[in-house]
Symmetry: none
DNA sequence: GATGAATGAGCTTTCATTCAT
DNA sequence: AATGAATGAAAGCTCATTCAT
């Protein structure tokens, strides 16, 4: 970002532009979201856009960050106490995921689809960190001992498996399987996996 | 394809162009693979490219189809008899997947990453069909009865979970987890899932 | 037009571009009037051209419209009162036509020649409407009664006969007949035709 | 033409190519008639096309010439004796014109529309010559004396007026006037003109 | 003679970005 | 600060024509 938004007006402008970016992606897809279109949607000149952002990438980065923050906030609100039941926690997380991906008029789905062209490292890390910590605490409560490294692998697998399976499903024009069934399947699979073996994979 | 290659020379040309497309994607990414660049890499004029292919899309479609054929061939060679051991089968499939994705200088990975912009429906269906059939036979042998619908959901989940987890892993610049560990984790997870419950999820 | 010109500068730009289009057609013919050439003639980048016009067609449409307006203005200035003498009116119109077609370095001629590839419907209609109305008024004054439908046919015939005969003549490299003679011939023919019969053809 | 078609086969090839050109123009318009398309329609390679014709222009020239010959033949068959009635002669000519333009699936119309991009000088001259001669003979019979120069102007006017009025009419998507009415109008106008004045315009 | 593969200049169009106003 | 006019490299694609086979 070019400028620290210090004034009220500036913070407003940044907001507006990021909003416009989101809307533009929803309406035109990531590739169709051009700077002129975004500026127009924001009701602002291209020049102004570049006054607040270094370019298209920066704009999208800001959007991704904002969404990451939203997701983090959402996750924290989930009833996931490490003292609780594992299946319930996982179920809550997966249903939260579906809800999120189905919201925003396809914005989330479009962004996840294009993850490799976006600055998503941070988001991915956040998610992974969140679930890793959760798992750590959970297993600490329930088993006392557990190999952390192993947990990292498990977290990596379940986070990615879940997200991309969901996105693939939602992206299908004529899905052959129902979301509800996939949600239950994922829960089944992940619960089984997390409870499996001598915590050593 | 625009023209049925009638001479020896032209069949050669088609090959060369698809090869060039592959190399171009490897070197420049999918977005960077432009018709001028592909033609240049192929040592051919743009005009020639358009004599054989309707455009960029057709070129990529041809590449995808060729790769799909390769994958299908590879899958058939895998030692996966429905009479065999489930874990061994899954293990073989996953290791085959990693081998494939690690080959081709990142071509496979780049293509999977961009799945939603490619004519991949066929490939995805093929894979799913393949494993669905395999699962069907396997469970027929071992349990006699099983709900097919359910199998479809499971196949969908495991195929997508596996592929995208792998691609995400390989895409990381500084992976925090080792491929070997992820391979084992995936095997563990999938075997557990496929054996779980009264075949009803 | 793509953009409503908001600044002084941009209204200028639109003018410049339409001018350049006209000059380009004069110099290179309608087919030779390409967007790069027009932009260059205008002393402007191609990009700018596309900021103001949707493309070549839009550019030409703008030119045609401007010329149509000019023609309309010219026609209105002609001393053609329905109270006047028929031959004088027709003579004035035909001489105006020749003057117009001989002006603009051949621009008009080139455009009429290519009428079928241009958005000329409006122009043609305008002309026809103009003369139809004139004829209507004239005959109302002089004969009281006359079949209107018939007038429409007559107008169609004389407008097209006149214009294309003129254009064909001007297009000839080594005309075998003189413009003056053709002008008089046309006048003779049309006057005769308009006065002929019991207004029923 | 590159080659005098001396062998049976060659003459056949030339025929075939010119036929294909005609069909191609009908199907794709003059601009859409490309050499590859023509060759394909002819069931011949582009190479062969260039063996018999110097290029696209030559091909079209050949077509135009063939059509000119057809027209000339048709004109000669018309019952137009200079001893006959003027109106009947003109009527026959105009009806012949409409018949021709309505035939050939629009080929004639498309060619006349694009007259200025075609080698039509000869065709035009032929037509003009034909009617000039006819007029000369006619007036010789009926009036003994008449100024030839004047006849040339008249011929020029009536030929062009007629043809382009017809083509304009046929080109209209939703004609506001009927062909029959226009035919009669043209006849009226031309007869009047040819009979007008002391043969001096 | 016949073939059709190969050419490449040139067209239309887009869009991230700059900079004079 | 804000504007939006201007840029121009680069993309996708066509087609008349040539020439090795």
């Amino acid at each position: 970002m070019r400028k620290r938004p210090q004034q009220q007006r500036s913070r407003q402008m940044v907001e507006t532009l990021v909003d416009a970016t989101a809307r533009c992606i929803v309406e035109n897809g990531l590739d169709g979201a051009t700077t002129p279109r975004i500026a127009e949607l924001a009701g602002v000149s291209v020049g102004s856009l570049y006054q607040y952002f270094d370019g298209k990438e920066a704009l999208i980065e800001a959007l991704v960050e904002r969404m990451a923050a939203d997701i983090a906030k959402g996750l924290k609100r989930l009833p996931m106490e490490p003292t609780g039941n594992l299946r319930d926690m996982i179920s809550a997380a997966i249903r939260f995921g579906f809800t999120l991906l189905n919201s925003g008029d396809g914005l989330y789905v479009e962004l996840v689809r294009n993850w490799h062209r976006l600055p998503t490292q941070k988001v991915a890390d956040t998610l992974q960190q969140h679930f890793l910590e959760l798992a750590r605490l959970y297993f600490l409560k329930h088993y006392r001992e557990h190999p952390v490294e192993n947990l990292q692998v498990r977290t990596f697998i379940i986070v990615n498996s879940t997200i991309f399976t969901m996105v693939r499903l939602i992206s299908q024009d004529h899905p052959l399987v129902r979301q509800e069934d996939v949600a239950e399947g994922l829960i089944e699979m992940i619960v089984g996996y997390m409870e499996s073996g001598p915590q050593a994979a």
